[in-house]
């Protein structure tokens, strides 16, 4: 059995779950300035306070998992993405502590609102930049990173950073529509639409930009007969986009949210088509980077049982705090 391939799938799954879950939660930070007052920000923050920690744990699983099963990839990618990684971590620190600190002070509340916004947007942007840096390829010599310290800083990666901000803001707006009291919620349908339009434009640009500048990517996509299968990806994307806007127009928040997630999944598929079987594009394949089977099997044995449990009780936590936040009269 190809354990390394299973792990490639599992790590991809963890990252995807992270992006979907922390996506809406970072998105709320990005939308913080949109709120009309601090009371509304309280509501926004409280809608994610019980779950954000669990969401972020998927990022730890992505990083920790990479260290465990693809140590070579971990040791190449982390130095390659040094600066954006550090900025992301510091952003996550800032926004993470804001959840508690904002409620611990009246005088300094605005400081932590700003920290929450700045941390969220920094984390979102750097995640996009890192994704872009992976897509444009990482230079490797032997078992270590061989590129420069600013290879991650190109127009393309910056654009990917912007695209990620749009994507997260879209998910955040959908989440707010679901969770906020009715009279506050409706405004966020329009917010979702604006970010949605921006996201669609970004996806179109990235999809054109990458194959045009990177031959290795275009060869993969325009390669008969595989192309027939690959072209399902853009078709699915069009379906998701169409349904997303239809749901937003009909004020069906949950549906819109799900198709937003669908768009994330399609993008992840697109990423895989562009880079598979490389785990450090376009230098180290998942098989080359994999730890010995002994390590892969040992961790997989537990994961088979633990991961479904994790999903079950994380789901339970969401279930406990389900439904709209009830509007307290005192808040307006």
């Amino acid at each position: 059995m190809d354990y390394a391939l299973i792990w490639y799938g599992l790590i991809g799954f963890a990252v995807l779950i992270y992006v979907v879950l922390d996506g809406f939660d970072l998105g709320i930070g990005i939308l913080f300035p949109k709120a009309s007052n601090e009371a509304e920000r309280d509501l926004m923050m409280n809608s994610i306070a019980p779950v954000w920690d669990g969401n972020e744990t998927w990022l730890v699983l992505g990083g920790g998992g990479l260290f465990a099963v693809f140590p070579l990839a971990y040791s190449i990618v982390m130095p390659a993405l040094y600066a954006p990684l550090i900025i992301m971590l510091l952003g996550l620190v800032l926004r993470g502590v804001s959840f508690e600190y904002r409620f611990r002070t009246k005088r300094g509340k605005f400081v932590w609102s700003i920290a929450f916004f700045a941390g969220s947007i920094a984390a979102a942007a750097t995640q996009g930049i890192m994704l872009g840096a992976m897509l444009q390829g990482i230079e490797v010599d032997g078992r270590s990173y061989a590129g420069g310290w600013f290879d991650w800083f190109t127009p393309f990666t910056l654009f990917c950073g912007f695209a990620t901000i749009c994507a997260y803001a879209l998910l955040g707006a959908c989440w707010l529509v679901i969770k906020l009291p009715q009279e506050l919620a409706d405004r966020y349908y329009d917010v979702a639409k604006h970010w949605g339009v921006a996201l669609v434009l970004c996806i179109v640009v990235v999809s054109a930009w990458l194959p045009l500048t990177h031959e290795i990517v275009s060869e993969r996509w325009f390669n008969l007969p595989n192309s027939m299968l690959y072209f399902m990806v853009p078709i699915l994307a069009v379906v998701c986009i169409w349904q997303l806007f239809k749901s937003l127009n009909n004020h069906q928040a949950v549906r819109a949210y799900l198709f937003g997630i669908g768009l994330f999944i399609v993008s992840a598929l697109g990423f895989s088509v562009s880079t598979f079987p490389y785990i450090v594009p376009f230098a180290v394949t998942y098989a080359d980077a994999a730890a010995p089977d002994g390590s892969l099997k040992f961790l997989l044995t537990g994961t088979v049982f633990l991961l479904p449990m994790v999903i079950a009780y994380s789901g339970y936590a969401y279930w406990v705090f389900r439904g709209k936040l009830k509007h307290d009269e005192g808040y307006h």
Binding site: T57, S144, G294
Partner: protein
Amino acid sequence: MDTLALDLARFQFAFTVSFHIIFPSFTIGLASYLAVLEGLWLKTNDDKYIQIYKYWLKIFSVTFGMGVVSGIVLSYQFGTNWSVFSDKTGPILGPLMGYEILTAFFLEAGFLGVMLFGMKKVGRKLHFSATCVVAFGTFLSAFWILSVNSWMQTPAGYSINEAGQFIPEDWLAIIFNPSFPYRLVHMLLASYLTTAFVVAAVAGYHLIKANHNPLAKTMFSMALWMIVVVAPLQIIVGDFHGLNTMQHQPAKIAAMEGHYDSHDGAPLILFGIPDDQAKEMKYQVAIPKLGSLILTHELNGRVQGLDAFPEADHPPVSIVFWSFRVMVGIGFGMLTIGLVSLWLRKKGKLYQTPLFHKVCVLFGPAGFVALISGWITTEVGRQPFTVYGLLRTADSASPIDAVAISWSLTAFVVVYLCVFGAGFFYIIRLMQKSPTRYEQALEARLPDGAEVPPASHPNRLP
């Protein structure tokens, strides 16, 4: 890799990991304390326990948040600054950390929300289960991460492949490596002691203000019982841990004891100024033979000094020597406080002795100081290796130049000092508030958690 970059990378790791360890060491103990409090409340129906619970829950949630975010940094820092180490040890340490994430982090994160905000939504019994699960999660987390650390100290169950990576041969031998059981127990007890001293300090502070405060009295009493039991136990466990270290890392023991030269019937050096250049202990104050007695449990036992090891393998003596003394000194101070509390309790004056309360306030941060000193002792004592005897620290670092590391180090220092400084300020402010019968739980801040004005507060949860 130049030495400046290496030193900066080491300092950065020491800085971020030292900051991080403060939070989990406190939350491990506090989570268990909260579980005990809620259990007592369910058993006795005495509301004072749930009020103490709510008081500490606020402090717990701030601390836990800081622990989570400072921990995420660490899970990536192995790769950014120590990529060669990551590549080589990943096949062994990675899966252990993977299990930590899957068994502990998700468990804590999943049930923390229920614990903090869910009392009204899930009811007493389920809420108690959530508290217990979070406490169990903190224990599991300690289990795995100490297994990882212990393997770096006393590697076992591995082989090395042609790429120079450590490859697993026997997972049980890896997880339960020789120093792991000692280190785990020592660390868990340290967390309990740390928490007990924080609780005792806060309770002591409020007893000084009003020595009839019933909640402060209960806290004070509980914390001091904990200290009475755990402080002596910790000294015994520490001794076992030391003997285990002597067996596996004798050079570390030599540095801790300040022995440059090997002895039969070695003295116990109480104080002195280690001089690494001259390889001698200056101005030493020592008790003859006691060193051998402690380490070998024999008056004339042979104790190896640093001269028994190649100079390239010596750990820096002065740091290890001093940090060890700080830890041990505080440990005996803790023991004394426990004994004094027993005596005061017998005389019925535990709550009426302001001087003792002041000493307890003074000892509030002692657990943290002892804990960090202990970690400095064991980690600096492991130098110059990351994996003891096998992988040198100098050969573990990322190919990153000093400029990049100094930028990131500066950013970490600035952000950490601001962020955790603010957190420290908020925690102190929470601690300054007297525990009262009107403690509000955190859910009071959720918009749909019914906010009850303190005057009409029913004084119990639904």
